[in-house]
């Protein structure tokens, strides 16, 4: 293995010490009555218990949620105040759609690397069950006008504008504001562009479920997860998934503008709406050593990219395709220099489109400005402990699920053969963004 980034020198690298998440639950199921704050607090308290952090004053806790009520403006702070951590631990909320908790990991890791803090928790939480519901824009305008009125007559005049149709609330939808298309519809277009087959998507799906089931069976999550509200495993997991079974499902997303292309995306090879929370404990090596705590892996580098999916001709979820080569370049690495690849499976087609783009000389030349394509890699190293298609995908919690999974895989490898290892993380996000990272053990 070549050593990453001889040219880049940070003061130090942040260590990934450990993690805790609650099992992920399909929407309107086991966690239907749990709020973001409930789930985040539970995940934090499980982490506190695992590492004996009761009363600890950590450098910071960074978290966030995509679907968040306005009353949860200080979500992370409220969760920490309700947890067993010291109240003196500062917090902030961050939101970058599905990239949220890889971005919070990056923030905490960077502060540790710069010596600004010695320890911190990166996390994310989302509920699609206990989602915020807003009054619709017309009703909001009427109510605000009434609020502004200075006299009773003025109030009554404003309220006279009330109409029955204004009762219909605004429920958050998985829809891009600038295109009006759902994420699935965007992904279906990208799949059609790259000619991604139904079978290839279903293979990714079956592997995700089988790998996750095997990871549970070998106790992989025993020190990464704490049960919550009666759930001990992600309840989206279908350990007995087969290609034959998946082949029977009807497609749900059709690629607009591709009338001759068969629809390939089903409820199985797309992630379901999910509730859950995940946390990662990061620290300096010194902080971990003082407490005799393990170091699973180190955070090496990260890159965030965005693409113009509105006016340009790039797919909504293709930003990682641009982020990864920039990060590899900076670290003097190739796509093949990794022992594990952790790609967030928003849709099976998304990661297949990304792989296809990296193997395509024209895309790599025209879009990435490379003389050679990035090429392919050994897919037996992909999502070996399962990923979002099997676990589910509470938007803001996914990064904090993936980081510890990869860190533990790398730690196991280095324990096993003593030679260390390197892993790549890639997460696509709504709004045409993407966050990618490198970990090493």
């Amino acid at each position: 293995m070549t050593s990453a980034s001889p040219s880049r020198s940070l003061p130090r690298r942040a260590a990934i010490v450990g993690a805790n998440r609650i099992p992920f639950a399909r929407s309107n199921g086991a966690y239907a009555r749990a709020s973001n704050q409930d789930m985040l607090t539970a995940a934090l308290d499980g982490l506190v218990a695992r590492f004996g952090l009761q009363g600890e004053h950590l450098g910071e806790v960074a978290s966030g949620a995509v679907l968040k009520k306005s009353s949860d403006f200080n979500l992370t702070r409220e969760a920490v105040l309700g947890s067993r951590l010291a109240a003196a631990t500062p917090t902030y909320d961050l939101q970058q759609a599905c990239g949220t908790s890889l971005q919070t990991t990056l923030q905490v890791a960077n502060k540790i690397a710069l010596g600004q803090i010695e320890s911190g928790i990166a996390s994310g939480v989302d509920t699609t069950s206990d989602a915020p519901i807003e009054v619709n824009e017309d009703l909001r305008a009427v109510l605000l006008a009434a609020n502004r009125a200075k006299s009773t007559a003025g109030v009554l005049k404003a309220l006279a504008g009330l109409r029955p149709g204004q009762i219909v609330p605004e429920i958050p939808a998985n829809r891009e504001p600038r295109t009006g298309m759902s994420m699935g519809e965007h992904a279906a277009q990208t799949a059609a562009t790259w000619g991604i087959s139904r079978t290839a998507q279903d293979e990714i799906t079956v592997n995700s479920h089988r790998n996750l089931a095997a990871a549970y069976d070998r106790g992989f999550f025993d020190d990464l997860m704490t049960p919550y509200l009666g759930l001990t495993k992600d309840n989206n997991l279908r350990a007995d998934s087969t290609l034959e079974g998946l082949a029977k499902l009807k497609p749900v997303f059709r690629p607009a503008g591709y009338p001759d292309t068969e629809a390939t995306m089903t409820a199985a090879n797309s992630t379901p709406l999910t509730d859950g929370a995940a946390t990662v404990l990061l620290a300096s090596d010194e902080w971990a050593a003082e407490r005799n705590l393990p170091v699973l892996a180190h955070f090496v580098d990260a890159e965030t990219a965005a693409v113009d999916y509105v006016h340009g001709d790039e797919g909504l979820l293709m930003a990682p395709t641009y982020a990864v080569p920039r990060m590899l370049e900076r670290n003097g690495l190739t796509l093949q220099d990794f022992d594990f690849y952790e790609f967030h499976e928003a849709f099976a087609s998304t990661i297949l489109a990304t792989f296809a783009a990296w193997e395509d000389p024209i895309f790599c030349k025209e879009k990435l400005g490379r003389d050679e394509p990035l090429g392919s890699f050994d897919k037996s190293k992909l999502n070996v402990a399962g990923s979002s298609l099997a676990t589910g995908h509470p938007f803001a919690a996914t990064g904090a699920r993936i980081v510890p999974t990869l860190a533990k895989l790398l730690h196991e490898k280095s324990q096993r053969d003593g030679s260390g290892g390197r892993g790549l993380i890639s997460i696509c996000a709504a709004g045409g963004q993407g966050v990618v990272a490198i970990l090493e053990a």
């Binding site: 067993r84 997860m225 704490t226 919550y228 001990t232 005799n292």
Partner: protein
């Protein structure tokens, strides 16, 4: 009407009146330990059966150092009162018996004590180890004490306990933690029992400089099955006594486990103790805390079935969790530096392992097996100055016993000298005492915490 005519009768209005008039056994409220509580709540009587008694002197100086009012004459006026005033304890040094004739001296001392012992009082008989005597008359006299104590236990009332401690020859100065346990309210539900001190040769240790309010200060303890029930109480009790506690339970119980750990400032380790990697994982985790001093094998399961309906998987799951896991972990502890010199292993057996229980062949086998494990492991630990002991709970009030049928539950409670079930803390106090560094001379023992339950007594 059911077939239980007695129950129907005593639960009818008329029957209730009659039951009150004939005096069904009362249920005494037991004095239980709180930090800072004095050893005894009043004066003590200290008798000596023979001129050869080895321990009276040690006991006397122990009690007077603590400021306890001590009288030799069992008929003495105490506490500014009269010769019939209540006493908190009656202790008799019954070492040095040369024949059954000497037992009359023990009787002469205990007869007034039985009349004078106060609520939750402590009667303690201290004798020689029968097996150390070769002459039949001597061994008979020593052994007779056990029958005396077990019978007196059935006569004691108002939460008073009667227990017997055998002291090996030469161990008379190694009694302090044992005296503190049996005389204090930490032993509230230990009644009619026998314990041997110093019987495994080669022990070493000291109770010098012990902070008796925090006897586990600076020690790291691990408790399996700590998510809830008795295990959670054990963890909290070890913490109260000063230990840092690693709480272990199966991953599926992780949320309750996290609460236990967070409540006591410990750490939570989600682990299937029957997994091959479990011993290594425990040692690995313990290094975060600088090693292990105390391991409490509390985790246990029941998969009750009549033997006629038993099957292999069900049987093996009980033996694996309750017995094999403990053997594997002990092997790892014995061969690792992570388990410190002076360490303590405490395991949980059961009344079912001593007396047997219908439907519990697998559970009873596993819990009797635990006793065999303690017997064989005790001498192996001597070279590490370590010990292993077992507690055998009787009927303890837990979520499990709450779910029992009423009849079974009532029988469990009432068919004991104390006419009540014990509390999880009674088991925990006994475990915490075994876990003390100062309990170095107590090794290879099985102590029932059962209020002298009549099953297998």
């Amino acid at each position: 009407m059911s077939n239980d005519w007695y129950s129907d009768f005593v639960n009818s209005g008329f029957g209730k009146t009659i039951a009150g008039q004939v005096g069904l056994p009362p249920v005494p409220k037991l004095r239980r330990y709180e930090p800072g509580q004095p050893l005894l709540s009043g004066p003590a009587l200290l008798g000596t059966a023979t001129a050869d008694g080895r321990v009276a002197k040690v006991v006397r100086s122990f009690l007077t150092d603590l400021g306890v009012e001590v009288h030799d004459d069992p008929n003495a006026a105490v506490g500014g009162g009269s010769s019939s005033s209540k006493v908190a304890a009656g202790i008799v040094d019954a070492t040095g018996l040369s024949s059954p004739a000497d037992l009359a001296e023990v009787q002469a001392f205990l007869t007034p004590v039985m009349r004078r012992i106060g609520p939750s009082g402590r009667i303690l008989v201290i004798g020689d180890v029968p097996a150390e005597a070769e002459a039949p008359a001597v061994r008979a006299a020593r052994r007779a004490l056990e029958g005396l104590v077990r019978s007196a236990g059935k006569e004691a009332r108002y939460g008073a306990t009667v227990n017997l401690v055998h002291v090996a020859n030469g161990a008379e100065n190694d009694l302090e933690s044992t005296l503190r346990f049996f005389l204090s309210s930490r032993s509230a539900f230990v009644h009619g029992q026998r314990l041997d001190v110093g019987t495994v040769p080669g022990f070493s240790g000291s109770s010098q400089g012990v902070d008796w309010d925090k006897p586990l200060a600076g020690r790291v303890a691990l408790v399996t099955g700590a998510a809830r029930g008795i295990g959670a109480t054990v963890a909290a009790t070890l913490r109260r006594d000063g230990a840092t506690v690693i709480c272990v339970d199966v991953p599926a119980a992780g949320d309750a486990l996290a609460r236990t750990a967070n409540d006591i400032g410990g750490s939570a380790l989600q682990l299937d103790i029957t997994a091959d990697h479990a011993p290594a994982t425990i040692l690995d985790h313990a290094q975060r805390h600088g090693g292990l001093d105390v391991v409490v094998h509390n985790a246990g399961i029941t998969r009750d079935k009549l033997l006629a309906n038993q099957d292999r998987d069900r049987w093996n799951s009980v033996i694996d969790v309750n017995l094999n896991s403990q053997l594997a972990i002990n092997d790892a502890l014995l061969s690792s530096e992570v388990f410190h010199r002076g360490g303590r292993i405490v395991t949980v057996s059961s009344m079912a392992g001593i007396a047997g229980n219908r439907g519990q062949t697998s559970y009873g086998a596993s819990k009797a097996g635990v006793i065999g494990m303690v017997d064989a492991t005790a001498p192996l630990l001597v070279e590490k100055d370590a010990t292993i002991n077992a507690v055998a709970p009787g009927f303890i009030e837990t979520a499990m016993t709450k779910a029992m049928p009423v009849g079974t539950r009532e029988a469990g409670r009432r068919l004991s000298s104390m006419t009540q079930g014990g509390l999880p803390v009674d088991v925990a106090e006994t475990i915490a005492w075994f876990a003390q560094g100062a309990s170095y001379a107590v090794n290879g023992q099985v102590l029932r915490v059962d209020g002298q339950n009549f099953l297998g007594a």
